[in-house]
């Protein structure tokens, strides 16, 4: 059943990719609408900042469109898109030396919004506090460790896939993952 739905998704994506290659912009827009949230959250968990995530997601889709000719139709579209997103994130991080501009978007607003939308404010306050603690703990993780941790736990990539994606050895993947978990444990138990 899972394979059938996966095949259906792949066929649909391929149809849109082919049309987009031919210049049908609306088809590309369908791909953007389908995957932008997923890519946003994948990147946001690594980068944490909303504005930076916004820039990276935009760059990702622009790169994807510019390189549609290079997409190998034998493989699924999303992993290719995800790979470009991660590379864009890495490049962003490597180049980023700009001063942090004061953002209009407050992360506290994100948390408050999630409280207001529910029926049980007390539970949500507790959950919001917990989320904030997790967010703080993730922020304190070194970028390299956070990247590997998110790719493993959130994006479900194997050690081999992470190793290829980040161009590091499997030993390094395991070591960074282990340190990330140990650090998170320490930070959350404080």
């Amino acid at each position: 059943m899972k394979d059938q739905s996966k095949n259906k998704t792949d066929k649909e994506d391929l149809k849109w990719v082919r049309k987009a290659r031919d210049g049908h912009i609306k088809s590309f827009e369908k791909l953007v609408l389908k995957y932008q949230k997923r890519i946003y959250f994948a990147v946001r968990k690594i980068i944490l900042d909303h504005d930076d995530t916004n820039d990276i997601v935009q760059d990702t889709f622009i790169k994807v469109y510019s390189n549609l000719d290079q997409f190998n139709e034998q493989f699924s579209f999303y992993p290719w898109l995800h790979r470009i997103a991660i590379n864009t994130t890495l490049n962003f991080k490597a180049k980023s030396s700009r001063m942090r501009v004061f953002s209009n978007h407050s992360e506290e607003d994100d948390v408050k919004r999630s409280i207001q939308s529910t029926e049980n404010p007390l539970e949500e306050v507790i959950e919001a506090e917990f989320k904030e603690r997790i967010s703080e703990a993730l922020k304190k993780l070194p970028f390299d460790q956070r990247m590997v941790f998110i790719l493993r736990t959130s994006e479900d990539l194997s050690y081999q896939e992470i190793s290829e994606q980040l161009d590091i050895s499997i030993g390094t993947v395991m070591s960074r993952l282990s340190r990330a978990r140990a650090n998170l444990k320490e930070l959350l138990l404080k």
């Binding site: 290659r21 031919d22 210049g23 049908h24 912009i25 590309f28 827009e29 953007v32 609408l33 932008q36 949230k37 946003y40 959250f41 946001r44 968990k45 944490l48 909303h50 916004n54 997601v57 935009q58 889709f61 622009i62 510019s66 991080k93 490597a94 180049k95 030396s97 700009r98 978007h105 992360e107 607003d109 994100d110 948390v111 408050k112 919004r113 999630s114 989320k131 904030e132 997790i134 967010s135 070194p142 390299d144 998110i150 493993r152 736990t153 959130s154 194997s158 050690y159 161009d167 590091i168 050895s169 030993g171 390094t172 395991m174 993952l177 282990s178 978990r181 998170l184 444990k185 959350l188």
Partner: protein, 389 residues
């Protein structure tokens, strides 16, 4: 297996990186060991952090805006491709379904179109290249051509020598010697006024076995009008100083292969001309000195001698960015030696060098390459140590 062995496997277990047999063993152990079971629970809880969204979702309007911004910024659609596609589709229709005369005409038309596309593509590529890239490409081709002709001449010369020796043996007469052709790098584009190497902001010397700082990297390392600050040490992966082991052994001398040394000689001669031109045009003296050191290093075959050259250069250099570039060249020498010999002592020596100079290396122009090299060496070392056990 002891409890600590099982404990080490718990992370692999939750990451689905164990074989079925190992999974079964661990699961049996977990049923009996409350400590390991607790460790598993803790790790699963930590893992769930990754799956959670520790921040709220943006407002719905944000997604519409995001889509709009992306669609506004993508390049314009490829009408040319679709037009071409239409032409091909029409041709295809004629070839498959049309009358014989039309099919023949279609075949001829297809062949002509393909010919021109290939021709235009080749010309476009040349036009798109900068004059200096064309010059460099021509230079590389010339070097390769001359090297090939040198090699073939050497082969011919050796064959002739053998033949003449035989002749001498047979007849007792000494034949005339073979005239050796000398490759002059001056015949390469350096004297070509179109060649813009001087205007390129780089030490234009390259070596196959010693990758040097590329143009962009040197520019960054020089700190010239870039908006990018070098990555801070806190962003770089902190190196484990526990792994540092003190070695007082002198670096092992390593001979390069004959072919590599010949190539380096040619590059050294090429760079000598470039250096002369740089001095003449009073290019920044640090850059001149750096290129001089690079040229001298390329001429040397011995690892120890090359290291000495860089050490001497570093002692006389005041410009920190060039010192960092030189340290990187030194690190590469250690790295290449370790990769070549695959010996534990060479790998440890290389890692020592990286750890001792981590400040300069990670704040230089190639922090990512440095990280990559360290990772590689550490992995190699682990494999060697594992094999020893």
């Amino acid at each position: 297996m002891s409890c600590s062995d099982f404990k080490n496997k718990i992370e692999l277990y939750i990451d689905n990186e164990l074989s079925q047999e190992e999974r079964n063993q661990l699961e049996s152990h977990l049923l009996k060991c409350p400590h390991c079971a607790k460790e598993l629970t803790n790790l699963e809880a930590i893992n769930s952090i990754g799956k959670s969204k520790p921040f709220g979702e943006p407002e719905p309007a944000y997604w519409q805006q995001l889509t709009q911004t992306i669609m506004q910024n993508i390049p314009k659609p490829r009408k040319k491709a679709s037009r071409l596609k239409e032409v091909f589709e029409n041709l295809q229709g004629i070839l498959l379904k049309g009358k014989i005369s039309y099919r023949l005409a279609g075949l001829v038309a297809t062949a002509v179109i393909i010919f021109f596309i290939i021709r235009i593509g080749f010309d476009d590529r040349r036009k798109m290249m900068l004059p200096d890239e064309v010059g460099v490409e021509d230079a590389v081709k010339q070097i390769e051509k001359q090297q090939f002709s040198k090699e073939s001449e050497m082969k011919v010369a050796s064959k002739e020598t053998i033949a003449k020796e035989r002749q001498t043996q047979q007849t007792g007469k000494t034949p005339s010697t073979v005239k050796e052709t000398k490759i002059s790098p001056k015949s390469i584009v350096i004297n070509d006024p179109k060649h813009r190497a001087l205007e390129l902001d780089q030490p234009a010397i390259e070596s196959a076995d010693i990758p040097i700082v590329a143009e962009g990297e040197v520019r960054a390392s020089q700190g010239k009008s870039t908006s990018e600050a070098p990555p801070s040490l806190s962003e770089a992966t902190p190196l484990s100083k526990k792994k540092m082991r003190n070695f007082s052994i002198q670096p092992a001398a390593a001979n390069l292969d004959q072919e590599e040394s010949e190539k380096n000689q040619m590059l050294a001669e090429y760079s000598r001309d470039l250096l002369g031109a740089m001095k003449k045009h009073e290019v920044d003296s640090s850059k001149v000195r750096f290129n001089e050191a690079m040229m001298n290093s390329l001429k040397e075959n011995q690892f120890y001698e090359k290291q000495k050259i860089w050490e001497t250069y570093i002692k006389t250099e005041a410009n920190l960015n060039y010192i960092k570039a030189a340290k990187y060249q030194q690190a590469l020498l250690y790295y290449n030696l370790a990769k070549k010999t695959n010996k534990k002592e060479d790998i440890q020596q290389a890692l020592n060098f990286y750890f001792q100079n981590e400040d300069l290396l990670f704040s230089g122009a190639n922090p990512n390459s440095v990280k990559k090299q360290i990772d590689e060496l550490e992995t190699l070392l682990k494999i060697l140590e594992k094999n020893e056990k």
